[in-house]
Symmetry: C2
Subunit: 206 residues, 2 copies
């Protein structure tokens, strides 16, 4: 046998380097959390993925909870489809839809933070950490960029739709979505997103 099941550059007996080890643990944790959620991913498993021992994880991050918080913060900070500059695009609805469909098809990383959060939402503490990050990292940013009434609600609904699609397509693997023609989904979703972005119609009229 070669080794255990190491990740990336962790297969060679990495030279003692605190920063690199920390990064390796963070990367392994990110992957493990995305796959199994907060409760499902064990510290020993995360450590093994980074090529170290479980105890080192706590030594670097204090506790599993703090490690999770840092992973969430890191993944949420990465640029996603929901960046402010994207909000300037004219056909933003289609952009969001297309990116979302593509990401949920390939399981790409830009929305990994969201996925981790969804997988971990059953844990109360993890949900709390995730909500904080979503609220400050996405919802408020989007809301301030949207014009018109009910901006916070509209922003939150956009995030809800993203979350819903991720749940059904990536987590549940609902065949109708998982095997759907990507372009067809984009055509269906684009006007929905656009509608929430514009916030037109009877949003003001009572």
């Amino acid at each position: 046998m070669t080794k255990a099941t190491p990740i990336d550059a962790a297969d060679r007996p990495r030279r003692r380097d605190a920063a690199a080890t920390r990064a390796a643990i963070l990367a392994s944790a990110r992957r493990a959390f995305a796959e199994a959620g907060y409760d499902g991913a064990g510290v020993r498993e995360i450590a093994a993925g980074a090529g170290v021992t479980a105890m080192l994880v706590n030594r670097y991050f204090g506790s599993k909870e703090k490690l999770f918080a840092e992973v969430i913060a890191a993944t949420m900070a990465a640029p996603t489809i929901l960046t402010p500059q994207n909000l300037a695009s004219p056909r933003l609805g289609e952009t969001i839809a297309r990116t979302l469909v593509e990401i949920t098809r390939t399981g790409d990383t830009p929305l990994e933070g969201f996925l981790i959060m969804l997988h971990s939402a059953s844990s109360k503490r993890a949900a709390e950490i995730g909500r904080e990050q979503i609220e400050h990292g996405h919802q408020k940013t989007m809301a301030s960029a949207l014009r018109g009434a009910l901006a916070p609600e509209r922003a939150a609904l956009i995030l809800s739709m993203v979350a819903g699609i991720q749940v059904m397509r990536q987590m549940m693997g609902l065949p109708a979505l998982a095997k759907a023609e990507p372009e067809a989904l984009v055509k269906l979703l684009a006007p929905l997103f656009q509608q929430l972005i514009d916030g037109d119609t009877e949003a003001s009229g009572r």
Copy 2:
């Protein structure tokens, strides 16, 4: 203090009744799974909620996994907002939106099956059970009731939106949604659902 924390009719030393005990366990399990998910809810906890011992749970249901499957089947079978007869309504979009908003506000039971599934989606086995139920209990029913092209995809997207709102409003507790004016959310959501129901616009035009 009265007793421990029993449920419903389990506070009085229930007369020995297999059917009633089974039902009590099922009810307790339903509540526990909805709150903590498959992994989060323990057999002992479920049993305590029904006023029995953990071993009795396995005696009645074989295993935790089988108990979960039965809970899911029961909650999914209950009538929800997504029933076929509702699909005949003219302003169905608004009906769905209003019901969804109301249910996610009060935490009412009609969508509890969905909530359980979302909380349990991190467990692979639980997700598999849930997907099967969703697919056959909702998605296919809806799809066959929808007219026009891409019916399966549109049905799945409606379910995705329901799931997304539940996640953000009930599980994450995103303030912008949790504290939003119900009627405002309905006004925002109704046209989105209606659009997926009608399936009009450029769905056919390429």
